[in-house]
C-alpha cells in the first residue's frame, strides 16, 4: 500500500510510520522540518518500508497542499492517509493576539480540512472498480487526528477545542459525502498523549503513549471505524462531559 502521512514529525505519526514500515508499505511523508523528516524516513527504511519519499514544505498553505496532492495523483495515487499535524494552542496568547489565534485555526482546522478534502477527492478519482480481489483490502481510508478537546468548549483550551470541533464536524460530513465513492474517513479522538507537545503537562492515569494511540489508529483504519476514541475510556468520559448542562459547565475552570 502507499500511505501518505501529513505532519510526519508528530509523535503519533512517527509511531504509526514505524508500524507501517514494519509491515513493508510505501510511505510518503510531509512535514516542515526537513532534517527531522529525513531521519524519520531513514528509520522507516531500516524497519522495512519498501520505499519512503519525503517532502518538506509549508504543509498548512493551500497552494502547497494543492500542488502536493496533484503530484501524488499523477504518481499512482494514494491508498491510505494519516493527517496528523497540529499545535496545542497557547490559550493565554490566543486571547491577546488575534493573528496568532487565526494562525492556530489555520494549522489545526483549515489546513487539515483542505488536506482531507483534496486527498479524498484524489482517492475517489483513482477509484478502481470493486472486484473480488480488492474487496477485502483496507485501501482508501483517511485518518484525521482530531481531539476529545473538540467535544466541548472548555475554560482552559477552547481555542484549540474549537478548531478540533470544526475538524470533527468536517470529517463527519466528508465521510458521508465519500461513502458512495468508496473512500472512508476515520476521525481519531485521542485524549492526553505523552508527546513533546504535552511534555510540560503532568502525566495522569489517562495519559496514553504515542505508540498505543498509533496502534489504535492503524486498527481503526483497517476496520474502517468511523470515530475512534483513543484510548476507548474517553468515549464514556466525553459522553458525560457533553451531558453536563451549560449552566453548570460555564462555572467550571477545567
Amino acid at each position: 500500500m502507499k500511505i501518505v502521512v501529513v505532519g510526519a514529525t508528530s509523535a503519533i505519526a512517527q509511531a504509526a510510520i514505524r508500524i507501517w514500515a514494519g509491515e513493508g508499505h510505501t510511505l510518503v511523508l510531509f512535514g516542515r522540518n526537513n532534517s527531522e523528516l529525513e531521519r524519520i524516513a531513514a528509520d522507516a527504511r531500516v524497519r522495512g518500508a519498501v520505499a519512503v519519499a519525503v517532502h518538506a514544505g509549508e504543509i498548512t498553505s493551500n497552494a502547497y497542499i494543492a500542488s502536493a496532492v496533484d503530484a501524488l495523483a499523477v504518481n499512482g495515487g494514494v491508498d491510505q492517509a494519516l493527517i496528523a499535524h497540529g499545535s496545542l494552542t497557547d490559550a493565554e496568547r490566543a486571547a491577546v493576539e488575534p493573528d496568532y489565534l487565526a494562525r492556530e485555526f489555520t494549522v489545526n482546522f483549515t489546513s487539515a480540512c483542505v488536506w482531507a478534502q483534496l486527498l479524498a477527492s484524489t482517492m475517489a478519482a483513482n477509484e478502481q472498480p470493486v472486484t473480488k480481489t480488492n474487496r477485502g483490502d483496507h485501501s482508501r481510508t483517511i485518518a484525521v487526528i482530531s481531539s476529545v478537546a473538540g467535544e466541548r468548549g472548555r475554560y482552559s483550551n477552547f481555542a484549540y477545542g474549537a478548531a478540533k470541533a470544526g475538524l470533527t464536524a468536517f470529517c463527519d460530513g466528508l465521510r458521508a459525502k465519500m461513502l458512495p465513492r468508496g473512500v472512508h474517513i476515520v476521525t481519531v479522538k485521542p485524549g492526553t498523549v505523552d508527546t513533546p507537545m504535552t511534555a510540560h503537562m503532568k502525566r495522569g492515569a489517562l495519559t496514553a503513549s504515542a505508540e498505543s494511540v498509533a496502534r489504535g489508529i492503524v486498527v481503526a483504519m483497517n476496520r474502517k471505524t468511523d470515530i475512534a476514541y483513543l484510548p476507548l475510556i474517553w468515549w464514556p468520559i466525553m459522553t458525560i462531559v457533553r451531558a453536563i448542562p451549560e449552566r453548570i459547565a460555564k462555572k467550571l475552570k477545567w
Binding site: R39, A42, D43, V46, G48, P196
Partner: protein, 431 residues
C-alpha cells in the same frame, strides 16, 4: 520506549527534585544537566538531584543498516528492545545485551555494560564502531578508536558529553531460539562447582550462574546457551502481560520470604536437573522483562544491587567469604547472579569488568546496619584487587570509589563542565 519513571532510578527510594528536558535537536540545556536513557541504572548514576535531566529516550531512530555486514547506525536513545525486535527477524542481534532489554544504546555505552557472553566478546563498547558526542564547550565530536574522548566516554557515566549517534556491529544469529543447558552446582560452601562448570563451558557463547545466597552450601544453578533457530512466533517478544500494579508492603521482602523464594526456586530447578531445552531468546536473556515495573516488588523504599568483581586468582577464596559475610550480616537477598568475565579489557577508564568473577545481588532498602555490612564487603573487594559496579550502586563511599577506579581523575578532567550527576558529586568529592 518510555521510562517507568522520569525521576527515580530503577532501585527507587530516592528523594529527588529534577527539572526535565527532552533531547530533540542539537540544543543542550543551559543549566547543569545529566543525560539520561531509560533510567535502568539502579542508583544515582542516572540521578541529578536539583538539576536537569536531559531525557534521550525519544531520540530513538535507526538511521542506517548494512544488511551484508550487520552494521547499524542509530540515535543513542534507541533501545536494545527496539533494535532486537527489528533485527532478530533479519538474523541479527546486539553483540552484548544486559538482563533487561529496556536500556538505551547511550546508557549501554555510558556504563559499558556486559552480558552473559563477556568471556567471548567483552563489553558493549567493543561492538561500538563509532559514536558522535555533543558537548557544551566544543563542536560535535566523532569519537572513533583512539580518540582522546573515547576512554572517558565509554563507561563515562554520561559525564563526557551527550552521546548522539552510535554505529554498532551486530551479531549474526541463526534464528530466535536459544539452546539452553541447566545444570546444578555447589552445596559444599565453595564456588568450585561453579568454576569447573564455567571452565568446561568456555566454548558456549553465553554462561551465567544463580547462587542461593542464604544457603551456607552456596548451591546454585548454572545456565549455558547458544543461539539456534526457532518457530516464527518467537521472532517477537511477548509484551509484558503482567505488571506490578502496586508497591508491595515491606514485610513481604523480609529475609524469610526471600529464603522461601530461594527454596522454591531451587526445588523447581532441581527436579529437572541437567536439562537441555530450546527456548525463545527473549526468555533466555530477559526473563524479568515479562513483569513490567517489577522493581515495585521491593516496595516504596526501593533497593540497591550490590555487584562486585574480584580477580580470577582471588575469586575462589574471596567470593565465598564475601557471600558468607553478607549472609551473616542479614543483608537479605533472593539470589545472586554469578558470572566469570573473560580477558578483555575495555578502554573505558571507569569500565567495571576485569578478568575475574563477578557477583550481583539485590539488597532491599538497606538500613544503617546493612550499609555498614556493605562497606565492609567493599573493603574485602578492594583488598582482593576488585571493584564495585557504579551502574548498580547508590552507596559506595568516595574513598572506596577512588580505590576501585584509580584513574577517575581522567574522567573529571575531561568532564563536560555543564554535566554532573548525584553519583559523581558523591564519589568524586574530596574526601
Amino acid at each position: 520506549m518510555t521510562p517507568v519513571s522520569l525521576d527515580q532510578p530503577w532501585g527507587r527510594g530516592f528523594n529527588v527534585e529534577h527539572n526535565h528536558a527532552f533531547a530533540r535537536d542539537s540544543e543542550l540545556p543551559t543549566r547543569s544537566f545529566l543525560p539520561r536513557g531509560l533510567g535502568r541504572s539502579y542508583g544515582d548514576v542516572c540521578v541529578n538531584d536539583s538539576g536537569v535531566l536531559l531525557h534521550n529516550f525519544r531520540r530513538d531512530r535507526l538511521l542506517d543498516f548494512d544488511e551484508v555486514h550487520g552494521v547499524l547506525r542509530c540515535e543513542s536513545g534507541a533501545s536494545i528492545a527496539d533494535i532486537a525486535a527489528v533485527m532478530v527477524r533479519r538474523g541479527w542481534f546486539p553483540a552484548v545485551v544486559p538482563g533487561t532489554r529496556f536500556v538505551t544504546v547511550g546508557g549501554a555505552i555510558a556504563n559499558d555494560i556486559h552480558g552473559k557472553n563477556h568471556h567471548v566478546c567483552g563489553t558493549f563498547s567493543r561492538s561500538v564502531l563509532a559514536m558522535s558526542l555533543r558537548r557544551s564547550d566544543r563542536d560535535m565530536q566523532i569519537v572513533e578508536s583512539n580518540h582522546p574522548l573515547e576512554d572517558v566516554t565509554v563507561a563515562g557515566l554520561g559525564l563526557s558529553g551527550v552521546i548522539d549517534e552510535a554505529t554498532l556491529q551486530l551479531d549474526c544469529i541463526p534464528g530466535p531460539g536459544i539452546k539452553q543447558d541447566t545444570l546444578l552446582f555447589g552445596g559444599d560452601g565453595s564456588i568450585d562447582g561453579y568454576l569447573s562448570l564455567d571452565a568446561s563451558s568456555q566454548a558456549w557463547p553465553y554462561t551465567v550462574g544463580w547462587i542461593d545466597t542464604l544457603d551456607r552450601g552456596l548451591r546454585g544453578v548454572f545456565f549455558r546457551g547458544e543461539h539456534c533457530d526457532g518457530p516464527d512466533d518467537w521472532l517477537t517478544p511477548n509484551t509484558a502481560k503482567l505488571a506490578m500494579p502496586v508497591d508491595a508492603p515491606q514485610w513481604v521482602l523480609g529475609r524469610w520470604s526471600a529464603k522461601a523464594f530461594n527454596e522454591l526456586y531451587y526445588r523447581a530447578q532441581g527436579l529437572k536437573s541437567a536439562t537441555r531445552e530450546t527456548i525463545p531468546l527473549w526468555q533466555f536473556f530477559f526473563p524479568l522483562d515479562a513483569v513490567a515495573a517489577w522493581n515495585r516488588a521491593y516496595g516504596k523504599r526501593g533497593f540497591v544491587q550490590y555487584q562486585f568483581v574480584v580477580p580470577r586468582a582471588a575469586a575462589r577464596e574471596v567470593v565465598p567469604k564475601i557471600l558468607a559475610h553478607l549472609r551473616e550480616s542479614n543483608v537479605a537477598s533472593y539470589l545472586a547472579v554469578i558470572k566469570s568475565f573473560g580477558e578483555y579489557l575495555s578502554r573505558g577508564v571507569l569500565s567495571f569488568p576485569m578478568p575475574g568473577v563477578t557477583v550481583a545481588l539485590d539488597v532491599p532498602a538497606p538500613n544503617e546496619r546493612d550499609r555498614r555490612a556493605l562497606d565492609r564487603a567493599d573493603a574485602m573487594v578492594a583488598d582482593a584487587g576488585g571493584r564495585v559496579y557504579p551502574a548498580k550502586d547508590a552507596r559506595m563511599s568516595a574513598a572506596m570509589f577512588k580505590r576501585f577506579y584509580p584513574q577517575w581523575e581522567r574522567v573529571e578532567a575531561m568532564r563536560d563542565p555543564m554535566i554532573s550527576s548525584s553519583f559523581w558529586r558523591r564519589v568524586a568529592r574530596s574526601s
